[in-house]
Subunit: 350 residues, 4 copies
């Protein structure tokens, strides 16, 4: 209830601070008998690793170890403990923020909630925590892929540039996980400009799940879309989430938004694969609005712990945008939701 | 875990089908000693009642009874059971849908999940279930108002018409809970046109919570925004949810999206009252995208239970839009989230 | 979290006070497609009904209604709401206890916890609440019986008299659910003596579950025995619970307590059907220690709400022992635990 | 829901196998601002450490590290991750049990549940897992001691020898945590005899919590005694649990079992500090029946994975009794329950 666990049957508990000794995840409820090695997890972690072009120069290898729950290469049904030791920890970069609250960050709300905070790199509120989510999500991915489910996220808009083309093959070819090569090039150019000005950018990520059977989701409060919304919104920089047509549906008529049914299936997928909170069998389509990273080197008004006014220019090793590193994080959260619902009791199918 | 409960400490379990004997809610965790009568709940129920202009002519009085948890006018800390008997139940209106799946509805996904369904009026998947949410939310409202918290939702866009003006006093003056009188008039006109064509419309609702102290929300998975997103997205017609700038934040720069701090407080509220998943003390601002109601009388392609093709024209007593009746429902879900977090242990404040 | 719900997948929420309008239960997670009528539930309720020999003369028919979750005679997978209206409510019997705390009862602890209490008949702390448990348990019984599981409880000791014989057929022949006819007669005689003296008696109830497959229980905290212990101890008068040899095991040697294995199965069942918190496939054996009912008409020292000393002689319509009416309640709790675990994901079996 | 977590607000998730790389615990919900160092935890771990007289010669130092949740010596309100690396791991000792199921152990039920098992030292079902519980309990102790609550467990009976005297000062003077020095000496002598015969012994442990305020516990299912019963029964060797008079209450009359009230408080404590599932303010008294350790070197009938008959004589480094090492484990479980309830919302007190 303290908020560090997610999921009911397939669940994860994460722990760890940005500049603490380590961070990790405990994955519970993973079915036994699944082949799992650290390399399965490392693959996903490497996709969100800092140190890539346009991202923070913090040189973390993010090497993950499996400490429990796997025996002779197979999951045993007992909790799988994952640990990632923090290596490149330079708390000195953050000495300034020990005294000042960074606008747009959780510095002040953590103090208001807890009375104190681990200010080193944002402590628990750092995006670094999402490494644990990605590690857990990789286990969900392994479990789901054997059942024919896959999840892929990609960048739909970034720094004011929107995709005009969807080329699935392109997604993993460019560093932005963008399905439109030309748009990706413009995004890179635009990000560099923004970075030089000491500013930051936001964008939109779309997540698609394929191969999902009908019947997932628990009305009326744990609808599949409600859980996905919570999952996606729980990721640091996300300020909006939508399913299928999403906010566009607000401006459609019923005749344009309904998906007619034929013996061959749905004729369209405005619903984004979910009706009445239950999966339809069509692709599940989720979009997340990602705000610009609050760490900017432009001077900003703020206050210190004594509420005295101050000017802050955030230093340290920051990304210019949460995209692309948030892309595998959003995949992980979606994978965790789906793995969980796949283990809910599934009654008779018609 | 079957999805009919919401909340951890202040929680609600709802039950009931559209055309069953009754529907109800069990509210747990409400603190003892709060003055509560059926009239407190009736007030909110009356705001979502069918039978108003532009809404379904189903003539439910939605009279609520309190069956437990209140003694001598005060809550006792034990579960509060609420019941609303269904009166105006004409299942015959729905005989057609006993055989055909209505596009955009949960008819088919319920059969796929459960193997059978109560087809009378949509059964459990009917929007009628939200009466129980509103009833529970009214108890949360009573609890919160004593603490200085209030929640108000209103219509921001409907049937393609967007508000240009925000006049708080206007909201409860027109039947659409719209803060812009002229816009409201255009919405009504537009809805009538759509209704005549046998179609339906969607829109956008904004929810504002005022008086919320800083410190609510449980990082990292039960962030205040994550819980609000789940709460709002769990309401039938909602396809998108955003906090503060929401999807607009995706196109802003960090310098434009951050809220600078001064000794007097935040200079702006792009964040919508939440940073790092924790309330800041500013107004909490949530927006929901509401899809057009799927029940339309225009002919649509569908299939029957044997997957044979068919044409359906949905009859019965339907609203032309989920707005305005969804407005008090979205208030209720927000009230439930806030009441729950207000009872989480709140450690020292700085 | 407020304590009125039990179970994870197959779960029940109870509500209601002894002398309120009604009491009820909401059963969630019951699989769809199970034939269920009020008569299935009534059967079990009749077994705990007051008004039998040696029990309270309160004349409740305890007629149960199903308000939701059943359509055309089958469960639908949605919540099943059960209601039992209170009929024979004479609060005047309890006017004395509105002012004095009854020793051995929860009167004072409720005031200490909640600041006020519904004193009519003990309010929420009354054993009357267990009617809702029995009603919910009857649904679990219906679900489990189709899977070959059955649960039976019986009186092993009462008012100082212990069974010497186990005759399964005898259990439902005598009003005490006692498997030893002679012992039952002695118990009745002894209870009458105790009743005449204005005192009350306790005893021991054994619960046996048969047909349970191996594999139920979730180590390490939700072991089958841990959940059973909680279930049984949550019933009002229970002060002890043991599995298999129970407290006797504390005085055995390993060689005498272990159950040897042969190709035909276990050679004994000292373990009571549970090893490492997981069912073995043998009968599950649980015993509950039931304290004497605290309502006695002998004078007792107590205090009033102002902590002034007083003498109380509890009047009203009381049983002389929680046995036999607790017997179906303990069955119900066991049924609820087993139904829940039967719906947990059951991985591959060896 | 997979059973590795305990508690609602103050909660713990444990992970790890007997002969895996490490074992650990993640403690969530611990309030911020509590002084905590590894030494606070080590103190309790040392009390259950193997390598003491009469216990397994496995030479684990059980050195604990805090990986997160503590900053500058204070808890931060974020999850506290604890790790204990396994050092003295000799899996070869267990090669025999890779093929045979040990009677009285969870070897066979784990295979029946999960389809495979980590057989090294019992894997997850090993008592070694309780080290993680003790570590978590030590944090609960630190939190509770500041509030004036303390918990102490001691040996009431062992190997057939029962205490006749209660000398609180004696408890920590002898290796058996026994409050009766003479009894302790007899226990040691008796244990040696049993050990020489290749057998094992059980006993009874009593747990007392002092300083607990009235009002803890959540009727009707999460009563304080129900949660304590689950907590205690979830510990490996425990087969029975009782509160206050416990099983003796079954043979008392109401007049003898009720605790009369005077302005000075309760005149007795037959209830063991709990009425109606809520703490009374008196000492909370719990007793656990501990079965003899199933690992014995006497030959026993068993089967192998192919269900072929076999004779097993369990080798390896085993204790002759779960007592005394279980004593701090039972303290830990009680501490965890109390810490959790102390953080539940406590309404007005009378």
């Amino acid at each position: 209830m303290a908020g560090n666990s997610f999921g009911r049957i397939f669940s994860v508990t994460t722990w760890g601070e940005s500049h603490g000794a380590a961070l990790g995840a405990v994955v519970e409820g993973c079915p036994p008998g699944i082949a799992l090695g650290a390399e399965d997890i490392q693959k996903d972690l490497d996709r969100r690793r800092p140190g890539r072009a346009l991202t923070s120069p913090r040189a973390e290898t993010d090497a993950v170890e499996i400490l429990s729950g796997v025996f002779e290469g197979l999951t045993t049904g007992t909790p799988i403990s994952l640990i990632i030791y923090n290596r490149d920890v330079r708390s000195s970069d953050y000495s300034q923020i020990s005294k000042l609250f960074r606008p747009g960050h959780a510095d002040r709300t953590y103090v208001q909630k807890y009375g104190l905070r681990d200010w080193r790199g944002g402590g628990r509120s750092s995006a670094r925590e999402t490494a644990a989510r990605v590690a857990a999500g990789a286990i969900a991915r392994k479990f789901l892929s054997a059942l024919g489910l896959s999840v892929q996220a990609f960048t739909l808009a970034l720094a004011g540039v929107e995709c005009a083309v969807f080329d699935a093959d392109e997604i993993n070819r460019n560093p932005l996980y963008c399905p439109d090569r030309e748009a990706a090039e413009k995004m890179v150019a635009r990000l560099k400009e923004i970075q030089e000005k000491g500013d930051s950018a936001g964008g939109i990520v779309e997540i698609r799940a394929t191969g999902c059977p009908p019947g997932l989701g628990e009305p009326v409060f744990d609808k599949l879309d409600a859980r996905l919304a919570a999952a996606v919104m729980s990721v640091g920089a996300v300020k909006g989430v939508e399913i299928g047509e999403g906010f566009k549906a607000a401006f459609l008529l019923g005749s344009g938004n309904n998906d007619p049914l034929t013996p061959e299936g749905y004729q369209s997928n405005h619903a984004g694969g979910i009706l009445g909170g239950i999966s339809t069998g069509m692709d599940i389509i989720v979009r997340a609005a990602v705000k610009p990273i609050p760490s900017i080197s432009l001077p900003q008004h703020t206050v210190d712990a004594n509420n005295a006014p101050a000017i802050i220019t955030v230093k340290g090793r920051h990304d210019v945008s949460a995209i692309p590193r948030i892309v595998p994080v959003l995949e992980a959260m979606t994978l965790l939701v789906l793995a969980d619902f796949m283990l809910h009791p599934l009654p008779k199918r018609a």
